[in-house]
Amino acid sequence: MRKPIEIRLMQGNEACAQGAVDAGVRFFAGYPITPSTEIAEWMAREMPAIGGKFIQMEDEIASIAAIIGGSLAGVKSMTATSGPGFSLMQENIGYACMTEVPCLIVNVQRGGPSTGRPTAPSQGDVMQARWGTHGDHPSIALSPWSVQETYTLTVKAVNLSEKYRTPVILLLDEVIAHLREGVKLPDPRKLKLVERPRPRGGREEYRPFGGTMKEVPPIADFGMGFNCNFTGLVHDEVGHPSNSPAVTDRLIRRLVGKVEYDRDQIIHWEEIEMKDAEMAIFAYGCSARSSVSALKAARELGMKVGLIRPTTLWPFPEKAVEAAAARGIPLLVPELNLGQLVLEVSRVAAGRTRVRPLSRVDGELFTPMEILSALKEGF
């Protein structure tokens, strides 16, 4: 058991597990996979004593199925995996979107495709986090750049999942997951925690999939007596399958809409030295760490460089790019992939400013020098 306020040397994966538990997660199902395994090991050790549940399932498909089940029973639930397991989970992530069951999926990204480089960092799953499961669906994905932020974003991810009744993805970089840093753990009793909306009235008026286009309908725990039907088929407000075009249209638009309408509440980004910036780096996760060093070096050389660092990757922080584009600030987008989030940056910039991708897919991190060189080369 931890003390109320504590400063601890922690690994990213441990900070994630601690954050989840502090956010109220009491159900973990997972399957061993590098580089996320420490989260499962931590949960196996700590969950039983705090009244939580840990189960190692037979594979990743079963893991996400089990956490959706755990959440239907009313318990905040999560799993943790990496690329190959994340691919296997996609169908049931769509099921959780469709049935509006809150849950947290941690994806500690590693080099891909396929088995790839299990111990090497990568940011190759950014688009999969958005479009991995089939069909139109809502998506919330967060990406931390430090061990401390891994803790706070895990708490936030659980809260968002409960608030919007939707799966939330935490995209960790392998190097952040295995990095050890000092973390200040806040008093868990003082954390602002969110509980999913639960029905207040009786069974007759309960509409588990109802409400306006902007509302998140309440969800009853199994066993509360509401006798609800959950199905991955298109369904009406009560939960009955439907082939009606009107019901279908309304459901899909509401599922996406409940997140999109509230995007300003969800999205967060940080700006460093943007006030007088004449050029900027747009970076997230471990690439933002290299970028800060590059920024400092550039400033010493008299170059007016700024940094935009989103912690929310999905919904995409359009306003962050919008502001830079309106000022005509060219953007360098370093990513450990061949250009994924840069596609969104370019879309929002819409030709008003230049956007340049910078890629690494050799399993190594960006050095500050190569980002600085790219800034010097210009756009």
Partner: protein, 271 residues
Amino acid sequence: MPFNVTSYFRQEMLPHIWCPGCGNGIVLRDFAVALEKLNYSRQEVVIVSGIGCSSRAAGYLDFDTVHTTHGRALPFATGIKFANPGLKVFVIMGDGDASSIGGNHLIHACRRNIDLTAIIFNNHIYGMTGGQFSPMTPRDKKATTAPYGMIEQSFDLCRLAEAAGATYVGRATTYHNQLLTRLIVEGANNRGFSLIEAVTHCPTSYGRRNKMATPTDMVRWQKESAVLIDRIKEGRASLQEGQFPVGLLHQHDAPEFTAEYLEVVKRAREK
């Protein structure tokens, strides 16, 4: 009070989507009768199903119900039961759902011996997609994807479940429907993983291609192919080619998963 079967159903969901002559309604009624005998409260029962004709059964029943993804009903059910062991969790699957796409989950649910009651509607075919062979289609029978006859061996799911560690295993047919109800009741009362295979009939997608075009032909086939296990044990009958045993096929005591986890909690707290 006389048993009112309709009180177990969501009236607004009926009529069901099954074809005329389908056996699933018989299995579903037997299940409802079993629930009546078990006398659980309406709010403690959860019914989980996969994908396929039979998995639509969950939506017709007036309990907390989950119509999950293809083959994954058991891990969903595992999560529900483990998160709240007080719930009585039933799992409805078809033969393709349970033995093909969900085969791995099935053997692990058996191995864990988690307290779930799985009812497998075995119609020997993928009905909803129009009659493709399943791992439980008997050898030489025809399907749209086995137009020249099935060349693969079929699974005996009951023997598989027994070998994997299930603590209660039984089989009945839509002809032996009172037996089916009895097995579901006993399976639910078993503290551990129970598997009940319900041999049902699909004249539309299976029977018509295999010289059993009417429901009557198919039920007759069940009557002639099924041999009561008690009669075999007593030496009054033996299995002939193409026949299968029905009744309580296996039972043993073993630690149940959610109960064992309490032991883990104890050890963790002592540390």
